[in-house]
Assembly symmetry: C2
Homo-oligomer: 124 residues x 2
Amino acid sequence: MVNVRDVEKVPVAKDIYKGKRIWAQYLITDKQGAKKFHMRIFTIEPHEYTPPDQHIYEHEILVLKGRGRLLTIKDGDRREVEIGEGDAIFIESNEIHQFFNDHDEPLIFLCIKGSPEIYRECEE
Amino acid sequence: MVNVRDVEKVPVAKDIYKGKRIWAQYLITDKQGAKKFHMRIFTIEPHEYTPPDQHIYEHEILVLKGRGRLLTIKDGDRREVEIGEGDAIFIESNEIHQFFNDHDEPLIFLCIKGSPEIYRECEE
């Protein structure tokens, strides 16, 4: 068990996040024995945005604090929604997603990510 | 996308919860296309507790509000911890778990649950 306040905010490991004012807290990962899905909290500083991201791993998101915008593109269908505290959002496999914080307060959200193991196909 | 405030609090479907003052909000499930893991929020009313539960599905929990106790038993090893806002907890496959709210305020936590699909073994 860990408490959010004791978990270091670190830069997001993925290369495309380099130099961004975006921080990750890795709460439940392989280290705790979680092999199938992982719990993280992301903080996007005021007037910062994430790079567009796309991968097979699904996301389940709960906005904890702040406001922002989420752009998604799925099969060419581009959608943009305002997001705020209490919003629960499902990002499908391979859905392009990009978060924008246009506000003066940090945008903080929980993000569960499926890990590679659960996307492996069984061999025939 | 749904907001927590718009998602009905319903009794927990599982039989062992019958008559308990415990409510579930199903935020992200099969209905949204989430086949691998599901996002729910549970509210345990003051001075109520969950029945002991055990299943192959892992849980990842984040306490959103209130305080309580969590009893876990794994391979005969019995542990009890105080839990409160911001605590992130991993419940392993087949770990017995039981939540107690001994306080005068509701205990509210997010709980991600792995769905059956990701626990199926590949056929040899």
